[in-house]
Amino acid sequence: MGPHGRAVLRGLLLVSILAAPACGDVNAGDDPFAGMVLYEDPAGAFSLRLLEPPWLPPLSLDGETAFVVPPSDIAITTDPSVILSEALYSLQVQTEPGASAALAAAFATALPPASMMQQQSAQTASGLASFEVAWQESPTQFRRDVFLAASPTQAFHLLFTAGRPIGDDPMITQMIASFRVGT
């Protein structure tokens, strides 16, 4: 092989090295959670996926896990209540005793009529049934409460809050769809 042939081979090798990452890592046509970070509960109770950023790494608050999307002008503080109240979006993951469907029905019944409550049920990607209640807590605070069965006698309660209606927000729907019991 002459010097020209070796130069061409080197060029092809360089192009292939550059082209491999240029083609992308994850095909979103195959993976519905492409680009989302997997969070696994340290105790192994659950896992879910989220975009990080804009979501921050989770906070632990008295036995529950909280995630937030902070505003761009966030003040530096270590007070969890301030962080949650200032967040553009927040998610708290709790466990509650009882069946998920019954818990969702009881939760919806307790809401005032002015809360513009809407109920719906769905299924996560792992086949878990979810029971959701979307409502307005205050003029500037909207919630979406999701109940998923952890066991026949215990349920996970995902409490989403935001400054705008999120009952049909597709990005929150995708986070709920990624939720799994166990890790």
């Binding site: 992308g24 994850v26 095909n27 993976d31 680009g35 761009s72 553009l88 729907t173 995708q174």
Partner: protein, 268 residues
Amino acid sequence: MKARSASWRVSFGVAAALAAGAAARTAHAQPREEAVDDPKMARRLGTRIFWNEGPAPRAPVAPPPAPVMAAPAPLATATAAPEGSAADATVYASRAAPEPAPGYSRPRLKLAFRRFDFVRVGAAGSGSGGVASEPFNSLSVDVYPLSSLIRLGLSTQYGWQSGAGLSGGDYFAIESASLGVQIRAGRVVPFAETFAGIGYMRRLQFDRSVPTAYWQLGVDLGAEIFLARTGYVSVALGYLRPVNGFAQQLQFGSVFVDTWSFKLGVGI
């Protein structure tokens, strides 16, 4: 007496013929006279006279039209006139070759609109359980510094999420280079080109602007259709792989899809 009379008649006839010929030539054009350069020759011969120069020659007789085109019906005089006569030349002069087709310029500059579907990373699709599709519109200015059989292009492109306004949703700005072939066969110029580009993409996720990287690879098959010598419209169907790269925690990751794109443009 008879002989003298006959001689006189011959002389008179020759003189009359010469006079008639001269008169006929004069009727067409005056002969051109020119001094001879050599003085000896000039003294002996006088000036040089060009008797054979007539009026400006006619345009060369055009050949009959190409066989693919129907020849126009000859004039009535053409059939009666002998070949090579003045009438024949007149007929063929009227059949002068048609105006040559105007040459079309090479594609040099194009303003184009492209539409394709990407994905809204982290968002659920409607009912399918997959990721949400996110249609993008884009405008680009393409220039072709090299445009012959091979064409080399540079494209500056701005794209925005369809339905969200130019900057209300996700958007991107990239610079691409293209390499392709084109066949300049007249009014329609078919082309095939591959392209690659890299730039910036703004993602709007949970009401926060997230800066990310965007690059794309693709192939376009289409045609430039000239409407005038230097103006054309362009239509192309393309395969496109848009890739969105971003930070995931402390790592860099990327997401891509394989999709089709449609491109329309106008250019010079």
